[in-house]
């Protein structure tokens, strides 16, 4: 089953943003899942990562954003979420929360569902590391890894591969967490022929559009002012107080865009290109050479004035930005060029994010705090998930052909 990334963006009633901020922060969702889980995230089996946060816009005022990274389709997910809410408090928490948003006058969860579906934004471009892996599958694979790891033990006494393999099979068949699941075949990550052809067409169209618009926009791109301000220390502190509680972190960046028609068109082409590249090339757990991101996406909001970037990544923010600037600067420049104040770029590919500290400062200043953050599997990294996937694949191959004991190297 393929995954879906989306946000629900709702304007906040004037004057309510402060109360919303306090209410959300007090729920204590930043570290581990709080015992009281009023959103019910922990009970929704299709949810990988979710977050709730606020940002503002000079003309539109404050918005409340509800980010979800899920298995399958949006409506089914909202139904599951609301089913949990119904069980927990009849939906009161969510209805009260959205009562602080403009345009929501309903009193029931079906009203809220309509309200939210009307405000869904799908990303201009997004990235998923474990393509086609459901949250259940990720947790099942982690259980397979645990069982295999336990059977192999410390390895002080070395078993012969065949003996180790037989014991592992036996344990996997006996363990209640793995016995019914470990032999279920993997869907794979290939986009398939039809989506593949579609993505190639998308890449070609957008590459042409990008080449033309990037050229046309070269002069505004070169004359745009670079903003080299350093982030206020206390702003950075206020953000860092929510970071590194877990080895996985969350980043929300809201960038102001140069939103004239020419540059916005160039951006849309750039995202079309990124989208196609992700489908065609980056579906195997690596975004270029970056292997730490679970889910990330860009979406243009506020009629082209704002660019929202949300990421769920492993490691510290500094190491993440280091990856950005040293390993994949071009891709990042493509995504963020024509942001107001962005480090000087050329053709939306060169310069920009490659300018190390200037880009890092700019990214830090663009960040808004995450008030609520949910992660379904905090103990595994994106690389662990891919390793577990390979392990299970290796085990099923070995089940069919016992001479294939190469999976032992993966543990």
């Amino acid at each position: 089953m393929s995954q879906t990334i989306f946000t629900v963006v709702s304007p906040v009633r004037p004057g309510e943003q402060g109360k919303l901020n306090d209410l959300l922060v007090d729920l204590g969702y930043i570290g581990p899942l709080p015992e009281q889980d009023p959103f019910g995230f922990g009970k929704v089996r299709t949810l990988h990562f979710a977050s709730v946060f606020l940002y503002d816009d000079a003309e539109d005022g404050w918005s409340l954003v509800f980010e979800s990274n899920i298995d399958g389709e949006i409506e089914a997910y909202i139904d599951s979420l609301f089913a949990v809410a119904t069980d927990q408090d009849g939906g009161k928490f969510l209805i009260d929360l959205y009562a602080r948003c403009q345009g929501f006058v309903g009193k029931t969860l079906p009203d809220l569902k309509r309200y939210m579906l009307d405000r869904v934004h799908r990303p201009q471009a997004g990235y998923v590391s474990a393509v086609n892996m459901t949250r259940d599958r990720i947790l099942q694979d982690a259980a397979v890894y645990r069982v295999v790891d336990e059977v192999l033990g410390s390895g002080a006494e070395v078993m012969a591969p065949a003996e180790a393999q037989a014991k592992v099979f036996e344990a996997l068949d006996a363990d209640p967490e793995t016995k019914d699941t470990w032999k279920v075949a993997d869907e794979g990550t290939s986009p398939g022929l039809i989506r593949g052809i579609g993505a190639v067409a998308e890449a070609v169209v957008n590459a042409i559009g990008f080449a033309v618009t990037a050229l046309i926009n070269l002069i505004p791109e070169r004359v745009a002012r670079q903003d080299s301000l350093r982030p206020d220390l206390d702003l950075v502190d206020s953000q860092k107080q929510y970071e590194d509680f877990l080895p996985t972190n969350h980043m929300v960046s809201v960038v102001h865009l140069h939103s004239d028609f020419g540059r916005l068109t160039a951006k849309r082409c750039a995202y079309g290109l990124l989208r196609a590249l992700v489908t065609l090339l980056y579906h195997k757990g690596k975004l270029g050479v970056i292997e730490t991101i679970h889910f990330a996406h860009w979406v243009i909001l506020n009629r082209g004035r704002r660019l929202l970037f949300v990421s769920n990544f492993g490691g510290s923010w500094d190491s993440y930005l280091d990856d950005f600037t040293l390993k994949s600067a071009r891709g990042l420049t493509l995504a963020w060029a024509h942001g107001i104040g962005f480090p000087k770029s050329r053709f939306m590919l060169l310069g920009g994010a490659a300018k190390g500290p200037e880009f890092i400062d700019w990214a830090r200043r663009s960040m808004v705090p995450t008030q609520v953050w949910y992660k379904a599997y905090p103990g595994v990294s994106a690389r662990n998930i891919n390793r577990n996937r390979k392990l299970r694949d290796g085990l099923t191959k070995a089940k069919a052909n016992p001479s294939k004991t190469e999976w032992l190297e993966l543990v």
């Binding site: 192999l152 107080q241 509680f245 103990g379």
Partner: protein
């Protein structure tokens, strides 16, 4: 500037280029400034009498002494007064080593929580005065002579360090391993010119370690500034970023100090117990944890006898899986060199942005029955270099695809909590499948530390004379 001149640069403090191999003993005095005027008078005296060692002095001869000085943010604020521009410094330096977030990042939690440090929890020092001599008494005498109320400063903490080895055998850290092998090689030095193979793997532009020179990006690193008003005598050059200000950072470097106690008994006891009943000897397990043989030779490719080439390996082609040098071992975490055959160049480029120049010494405190390391390193950016190595590599439980483990030597073991399992393992890749160590205790614990800036000589003049 020729290479000979660079390592003898008269404006760079001597400790940057030299470990003072002939001066066995060091005293590190952490001081507070109690009288600004007297302190400035003392600094001026030190400079006029050329007592602060510079690179120009070259390697010290037996029987000589060396002094170096660095300041914490509070010290520069006190001495520069209105000329102190906090925004121009590295944020970690201004904030100090102890903040809630920084502790999480650096692994200064649980066993290493500042609550358990012997000193430095309050970061209540303004500077660090370092004295090198031939005996502990001599080092102490130097500290006592200089850090006194007549000079406007009081000592709040003293720790001592010494060298532990000799030229043939090399330095040994407290667990008994050879230490200090892998250092960055600075462009523009004779080492860089004479050792092209090493330089290809360890060479960094001077600006990675010393401010005022281009760094790995080819540009000048960010550097502390003072207002021109603080430098009426014109000791300093204009600042590259703010031309109306002056460059206080030129020829200076950020200095990280951490006193790290090493539980040598616990370490060897642990590897003895872990080795029982297995194929590997206790020494072999210890060497796997460190990532080097005890005598300093590399784990792979180069045979034990080839000591000359003990630092010429990388992990891209020879040891991608870590079957020689485990992926999670101390030396691989703290300097991953090049990894992945397809990403050899790119990964080396990344690593070279995260190197540090180490100048630490071992210590033995008979009174406390404690041994360990006075860890000192220099870097142009504490966040990008020291903190990155310590936090994003050594204490990252997801490092390079691993899980539930941190650096088995210097990492901070985590108890289960926050919805996560305990982080206390170490994986040793081998055939046919890995060896796994469990329940590793924290062997290295923090006893105190801080962030400092060691200015160049002209900058010291400015600090000493700022109105």
């Amino acid at each position: 500037m020729g290479s000979e001149e660079f390592t003898r640069h008269p404006d760079i403090q001597g400790l940057l280029f030299r470990g003072y191999a002939n001066l066995y003993h060091a005293g590190y005095g952490f001081f507070r400034i109690v009288d600004r005027t007297a302190c400035k008078f003392w600094l001026t005296g030190l400079l006029d009498s050329e007592r602060i060692s510079t690179a120009k002095d070259g390697p010290p001869e037996l029987g000589t002494q060396r002094l170096n000085i660095a300041f914490a943010a509070s010290g520069l604020e006190a001495l520069l007064g209105a000329g102190w521009i906090p925004d121009s410094y590295e944020p970690p330096f201004v904030e100090g080593m102890v903040t809630a977030h920084r502790c999480r990042l650096l692994g200064d939690v649980e066993d290493n929580d500042p609550e358990h440090w012997r000193w430095g929890k309050e970061q209540d020092f303004d500077g660090l005065f370092m004295a090198f001599g031939n005996s502990g008494d001599e080092a102490e005498q130097l500290l006592a002579d200089h850090l006194c109320s007549d000079n406007g400063v009081v000592r709040v903490q003293t720790v001592y360090g010494h060298l532990n080895g000799h030229e043939k055998d090399g330095e040994r850290e407290a667990f008994g391993f050879r230490d200090g092998i892998s250092q960055p090689i600075i462009e523009g030095t004779s080492r860089y010119r004479d050792l092209p193979k090493e330089a290809a793997l360890h060479g960094v532009p001077a600006g990675e370690m010393i401010l005022g020179y281009p760094d790995g990006t080819g540009k000048l690193p960010r550097t502390p500034a003072v207002s021109a008003a603080s430098d009426p005598r014109g000791w300093l050059k204009p600042h590259w970023e703010w031309p109306e200000r002056r460059d206080l950072g030129m020829n200076g470097s950020y200095l990280v100090f951490r006193q790290l106690a090493q539980d040598t008994e616990g370490f060897w006891r642990y590897v003895n117990e872990a080795a029982a009943g297995g194929q590997e000897t206790p020494l072999e397990l210890a060497e796997k944890m460190v990532g080097r043989r005890k005598d300093g030779t590399s784990m792979e490719k180069y045979p034990k006898s080839d000591k000359e080439n003990n630092n010429l390996f990388n992990f891209a082609k020879d040891d991608a899986q870590g079957k020689f040098c485990p992926v999670g071992s101390h030396i691989r975490r703290s300097n991953p060199r090049a990894t992945g055959s397809k990403t050899e160049k790119a990964s080396l480029k990344v690593t070279l942005r995260h190197r540090i120049l180490r100048r630490g010494r071992v210590y033995e405190d008979a009174e406390l029955g404690e041994v360990g390391l006075q860890f000192i390193c220099f870097n142009a950016s504490i966040a990008r270099q020291f903190e990155f190595i310590q936090g994003s590599w050594c204490n990252n439980q997801f490092f390079d695809g691993l899980q539930r483990e941190v650096d088995p030597i210097i990492g901070t073991v985590r108890k289960p909590g926050n919805g996560l399992d305990a982080v206390d393992r170490f994986t040793i890749p081998r055939d046919p499948y890995r060896r796994r160590l469990d329940g590793i205790p924290t062997f290295v614990t923090m006893k105190g530390g801080g962030y400092f800036f060691m200015p160049g000589m002209a900058a010291l003049r400015c600090i000493a004379t700022a109105p």
